[in-house]
C-alpha cells in the first residue's frame, strides 16, 4: 500500500462530513529540470492539527511555500473554503487567512512584543499609531493564548520559545483560519514544547486548522490528528495518526516495501574489530537542545554506522565528535588522551577529519580551485608560513584526482563549477590528504549520482580495511548497513540502540527507530509511550 504506484489512501475527515478549509489538488512545481512536487494533494479541516511528514527533500517546505504564495504553482489548484484561489504573493495568501510561523522566528528583535504583533496593521487614532490601543490589543491576544508577558517589553528580552508564541499570537491576531508551524519545536526544550502544545490545542479547539512540521515522532503522536506523508516530491498517503503505527509511518517516509528490504540485507558480515583501546571513546557526550548524553566507542579499522531519521541527533553527534560544536557535558578520549574539543582544530590535531552534511555551506570553497580546496585542510594545519611545496602539491592533487576519479580532472577548475558528486570527492580528498585516523562522514553521498556514490562507498570500505576508523552517517539505511561493522541507532536526539552489524536488516533498524523492537540488554530503555498499535 505504500508503493507510489498505488493511489494514495484518503481518510475520512475528523468529524463527519465537514468540508476542508483548504484543499490543494494535484499541485506540481518544477524548478528547472527538477520536479519538486508531483501532483501532491493536501486537505486541511478546521479544528485539526495536521502533520506534514517526510524526509529531507520530500517536498514539505515546497508544499508549504506553494500554499503561502512564495512559489507559484505550475499545475493544480488551491481551494479555500470552496473557492479556487491563486496566490501570487505571500500577502495574497495571508489575505485568505493563511499564516505561517517559520522555524527561525522572523520578527524584529528590537521592537516591542506589541509592535511585532501589530507590525503593518497598527491600530490608528486620527491617523497616528495608538500605542495604547496596540498594547492593549496585544495583551488581550497573548493572554488568550495563555502567555502572560508585558507587550511593551522588547522581543529579544524573551527566550526563543516565547518569541515563537509571539509569532503565533501575531498570526492568530489576523484571525488566521490556517496556521502553519514549520518545525517550531526544533530549538525548544520539553517544557517549552508543552507550552506550545497547549496553545496549539486551544487554537485547534477554536476551529483553526494547524499544519505542523516536526522531525520528532513522539511530538507528532502527541499533538497531531491526521497526517500527510510525502516522499520524493510525491504524495504517499494521508492517514489518521491514531490509526498508524510508528513503523508504518517510518516505512512510508523512507519508502520501501519491507519484503524488498529483507532481501537487500547486508552483504558480508563484518569482522569484529573490538580489540584493544578504542581510538575514540565518548562518554556522556551531550549538548543542550541538541544531543542528550551519548556514549560511543570507535576502534581501529572499524566503520560505525549511525542510523536515524533527520533530527534524530545523528548530525549533532558527529559535530560534537569533531568539535564543530562544543559539548556541554561528557568527555572524549583519543586513544588514552582525554581532551575537550573547543574547536575543530583540536580534533584535527588528533587526526580526526569531518565531512559535513552541508556540502555547500560547510565544505565547498566555491571560488577556489579544486587543488586549493583539496589542500585546504593540510595547508591549514601547516600554517600559512609553510606553503606546501609545488612538487608535493602537484603530486597529491594528481594522485587524488586519479584515485577518486574526479571530473573534470583539472586541478585548476573552480570548485563551484563541479557537480555535487565530484565536489564531494574533492572534500573526501581534502581530508584523506591529512592522513586522518578517524574519519567522520555525515551524508557523504547525499544528492550525488549513483556512480559517484558507489565510488565513495568503495573508498570508505577500502580505507577501513587499511586501518582507518570511520563514523558513517547516512539517511539511506541500506548504505549504512552495507558499510558498517557496528550500528548506532538514534532517535529524538539520543542513542536508542547499538548493535554489531551481523544479520541486521533494514526492517530491524526501522523497527528500532519506530520504537517497536526489543532493545538488546545493554541498550538504554525505550522512551515511554509513543507506540500506537
Amino acid at each position: 500500500m505504500t508503493q507510489m504506484t498505488t493511489p494514495p489512501e484518503v481518510v475520512a475527515p475528523p468529524e463527519g462530513e465537514r468540508s476542508p478549509v483548504i484543499e490543494m489538488r494535484d499541485i506540481s512545481i518544477t524548478f528547472g529540470a527538477v520536479r519538486a512536487l508531483d501532483r501532491v494533494s493536501l486537505r486541511l479541516f478546521p479544528g485539526e492539527v495536521h502533520a506534514l511528514m517526510g524526509e529531507n527533500g520530500a517536498g514539505k517546505s515546497t508544499l508549504i511555500k506553494a500554499l503561502t504564495g512564495v512559489y507559484t504553482i505550475d499545475a493544480g489548484e488551491v481551494i479555500v473554503e470552496g473557492e479556487p484561489h491563486e496566490f501570487h504573493s505571500p500577502a495574497a495568501s495571508q489575505e485568505a487567512g493563511i499564516s505561517t510561523v517559520y522555524q527561525e522566528v522572523n520578527l524584529v528583535p528590537n521592537l516591542t512584543v506589541a509592535e511585532n504583533m501589530m507590525l503593518g496593521r497598527e491600530p490608528r487614532r486620527f491617523g497616528a499609531i495608538s500605542v495604547r490601543d496596540m498594547n492593549r490589543r496585544a495583551r488581550r491576544t497573548l493572554l488568550h493564548l495563555g502567555v502572560d508577558i508585558d507587550p511593551r517589553s522588547t522581543l529579544d528580552e524573551h527566550p526563543i520559545a516565547i518569541q515563537q508564541l509571539v509569532a503565533i499570537a501575531r498570526a492568530v491576531d489576523v484571525e488566521a483560519k490556517v496556521l502553519i508551524l514549520d518545525e517550531p519545536t526544533s530549538s525548544l526544550d520539553a517544557d517549552e514544547v508543552e507550552k506550545l502544545f497547549t496553545v496549539m490545542r486551544r487554537l485547534r479547539d477554536e476551529g483553526v486548522a494547524i499544519v505542523f512540521v516536526s522531525h520528532f515522532l513522539d511530538q507528532i503522536y502527541e499533538i497531531a490528528d491526521r497526517m500527510t506523508i510525502l516522499r520524493n516530491g510525491k504524495l504517499v498517503e494521508e492517514r489518521m495518526v491514531a490509526q498508524t503505527t510508528q513503523l508504518e509511518l517510518v516505512r512510508s517516509m523512507i519508502g520501501r516495501e519491507l519484503e524488498t528490504l529483507d532481501r537487500l540485507d547486508c552483504e558480508a558480515p563484518k569482522t569484529d574489530a573490538e580489540t584493544g583501546v578504542p581510538v575514540l571513546k565518548a562518554i556522556g557526550l551531550g549538548r543542550k537542545n541538541s544531543l542528550e548524553a551519548t556514549d560511543l566507542e570507535l576502534f581501529e579499522g572499524e566503520v560505525v554506522g549511525i542510523a536515524g531519521l533527520l533530527g534524530s541527533g545523528r548530525t549533532e553527534l558527529a559535530r560534537l565528535l569533531f568539535g564543530a560544536d562544543t559539548a556541554d557535558t561528557g568527555e572524549l578520549t583519543f586513544r588514552s588522551e582525554r581532551r575537550k574539543l573547543r574547536s575543530p582544530r583540536h580534533a584535527i590535531d588528533r587526526k580526526v577529519a569531518f565531512s559535513s552534511e552541508d556540502r555547500k555551506a560547510e565544505g565547498v570553497v566555491g571560488d577556489l580551485t579544486v587543488a586549493d580546496n583539496m589542500l585546504l585542510a593540510l595547508q591549514a594545519s601547516r600554517g600559512w608560513l609553510r606553503p606546501i611545496p609545488q612538487a608535493m602539491r602537484t603530486q597529491l592533487v594528481d594522485d587524488y584526482i586519479a584515485a577518486l576519479d574526479i571530473r573534470p580532472a583539472d586541478p585548476h577548475a573552480l570548485m563551484r563549477n563541479l557537480s555535487g558528486g565530484n565536489q564531494q570527492k574533492v572534500l573526501l580528498a581534502r581530508w584523506l590528504i591529512t592522513q586522518p585516523e578517524i574519519l567522520i562522514l555525515d551524508e557523504p553521498t547525499r544528492g550525488i549520482d549513483i556512480g559517484a556514490k558507489a565510488q565513495i562507498q568503495a573508498k570508505v570500505a577500502e580505507l577501513a580495511a587499511q586501518g582507518l576508523s570511520v563514523v558513517f552517517i547516512s539517511a539511506e539505511l541500506e548504505e549504512v548497513l552495507r558499510l558498517s561493522d557496528r550500528l548506532v541507532v538514534m532517535r529524538d536526539r539520543r542513542k536508542i540502540d547499538e548493535r554489531v552489524n551481523a544479520d541486521v536488516s533494514v526492517r530491524d533498524v526501522l523497527e528500532i527507530i519506530a520504537g517497536e523492537a526489543h532493545p538488546e540488554p545493554q541498550a538504554e530503555p525505550q522512551s515511554e509511550g509513543a507506540t500506537h498499535v
Binding site: L376, A380, G383, L385
Partner: protein
C-alpha cells in the same frame, strides 16, 4: 572556435581588462583635451611631467589600498586607515622635532620606524576587535577612525606641526633612479605584499576565509590569526601612507591629514576588481585602481572641471566605471543594444574569471 577568437575570449574575461581599460580611457580623455598631457621631460637628473606626478600622488592611496585589499578579501573593511595615517604622521613629526638633531638621517629613520610600529599595533587592535571579540569590522574600525583623530590631535597638541628634515621630506619629493621615491615605496610594498600572499599560503587562506568562513573553520584554518594579520598589515600600510603625506608638506595637520583616504582606498580596491563580498583579491587590480584614482584627480583640473563640481564629477566617473565592470550591467546593456542574443557569441557566463593572476610575482 578558432584560436584567435578563443584568445580574444580569454582576454575579455581577464579580470584586469576593465580596470586597465578604464585607466586608458581616462588618459585618452586627458590627451584629447591637452595633447601634451603625456609628455615627460628630463630635468635635474629626474623625470618631470603629469604622468610622474600621477605616480607620486598615487602612492598614499596605493599603500592604503594594498592593506585594504587583504582586509576586504577576508570580508572585512578598515575605516580607520585615515586616522592611523594621521597618527603615524603625528608620531613621526613630534619625534623629529623632539630629537637632538632635527635634520639628521638617523632622526628621520628612528621617527619613521617608531611611527610604523605604533601603526602596526593599532592595526592589531582592530584585528583584536574583529577576530577575538567578534565585532563587525565596520564598527570595530569606526572606533579607531573617530578616536584616532583625537589621538593624533593629542599627540600634536592640536597644532599644525612643521618639521625640517631633508631625509623625511625626500619620502614625498625625492627621486631615485629618475622616479619619485614615494611611488617606488608603494611599488616595493606591492611586491612585498605579493610575495607575502602568493609565495606563502597566506593568500589562499585569506581567500578561503573570505569565501566560506564556516567551511574554512571546519577545515582547521586559523582564521583568527589570519584576520589579525591582515588588519595589522593594513595598519602598517596606512602608517607608511601617513608618512608620505606628511613628508609632502613637511608638516602634520591632525585634523585633515589622510581625511577620507579610506574611501579612495576602498574605491581603488573595488575598481581593481576585488569584490567587497570578500574572497578572491587582485593586488595588481588594486595597483591599477590607485593609479586610476590619482589620474582622475589630475584630470579634473586638466579638462577644466570647475572646482565646485569636482566631487560630482568624480562620483559620476566612479559609478560609470563600476557599472562597466559589473557583468550584470554589461549584459543588460548588450541586450538592450542588440536585442536578445540570437546569433553571435553567447554572452560570457557571469563572473567566471580565469584563475586570478593576482600579484606581480606570477
Amino acid at each position: 572556435m578558432s584560436e584567435s577568437s578563443s584568445r580574444a575570449a580569454r582576454l575579455l574575461r581577464h579580470p584586469l581588462l576593465w580596470p586597465v581599460l578604464a585607466l586608458v580611457v581616462l588618459l585618452l580623455v586627458n590627451v584629447v583635451v591637452n595633447p601634451n598631457f603625456l609628455n615627460v621631460r628630463m630635468q635635474d637628473g629626474h623625470l618631470y611631467g603629469n604622468v610622474i606626478d600621477i605616480m607620486r600622488n598615487s602612492a598614499p592611496v596605493m599603500l592604503v589600498a594594498l592593506g585594504m585589499t587583504l582586509v576586504i578579501a577576508t570580508r572585512g573593511i578598515d575605516l580607520s586607515v585615515g586616522a592611523i595615517a594621521a597618527i603615524a604622521a603625528a608620531v613621526a613629526c613630534t619625534r623629529i622635532i623632539g630629537a637632538g638633531d632635527e635634520a639628521a638621517l638617523t632622526t628621520a629613520v628612528m621617527a619613521m620606524t617608531y611611527a610604523v610600529v605604533v601603526c602596526v599595533a593599532l592595526g592589531a587592535w582592530n584585528g583584536f576587535l574583529v577576530s577575538v571579540l567578534g565585532i563587525q569590522p565596520i564598527i570595530a574600525t569606526l572606533i579607531l577612525m573617530v578616536a584616532g583623530r583625537g589621538i593624533s590631535m593629542a599627540i600634536t597638541d592640536g597644532q599644525i606641526t612643521t618639521v625640517n628634515n631633508p631625509f623625511f621630506s625626500d619620502l614625498a619629493s625625492g627621486f631615485v633612479l629618475t622616479l619619485p621615491l614615494a611611488f617606488l615605496i608603494a611599488i616595493a610594498v606591492l611586491a612585498f605584499t605579493a610575495v607575502l600572499t602568493r609565495r606563502t599560503a597566506l593568500g589562499m587562506l585569506i581567500e578561503s576565509v573570505g569565501i566560506n568562513p564556516e567551511a574554512s573553520r571546519l577545515a582547521g584554518v586559523r582564521s583568527r590569526t589570519i584576520i589579525w594579520t591582515v588588519y595589522a598589515f593594513s595598519g602598517f600600510c596606512a602608517g607608511l601612507a601617513g608618512l608620505v603625506i606628511a613628508a609632502n608638506t613637511n608638516s602634520v595637520n591632525a585634523n585633515s591629514l589622510g581625511l577620507w583616504i579610506e574611501l579612495d582606498a576602498i574605491l581603488a580596491v573595488v575598481i581593481g576588481g576585488t569584490s567587497l563580498a570578500g574572497g578572491r583579491f587582485s593586488l595588481m587590480g588594486t595597483f591599477i585602481g590607485a593609479l586610476f584614482i590619482a589620474t582622475l584627480a589630475r584630470t579634473i583640473p586638466n579638462i577644466g572641471i570647475p572646482s565646485d563640481l569636482n566631487y560630482l564629477f568624480k562620483a559620476v566617473v566612479v559609478i560609470a566605471v563600476c557599472l562597466v565592470q559589473s557583468p550584470k550591467a554589461r549584459a543588460s546593456l548588450r541586450v538592450r543594444r542588440t536585442g536578445p542574443p540570437t546569433s553571435g557569441p553567447a554572452p560570457t557566463p557571469a563572473p567566471a574569471p580565469a584563475p586570478a593572476k593576482a600579484g606581480i610575482s606570477s
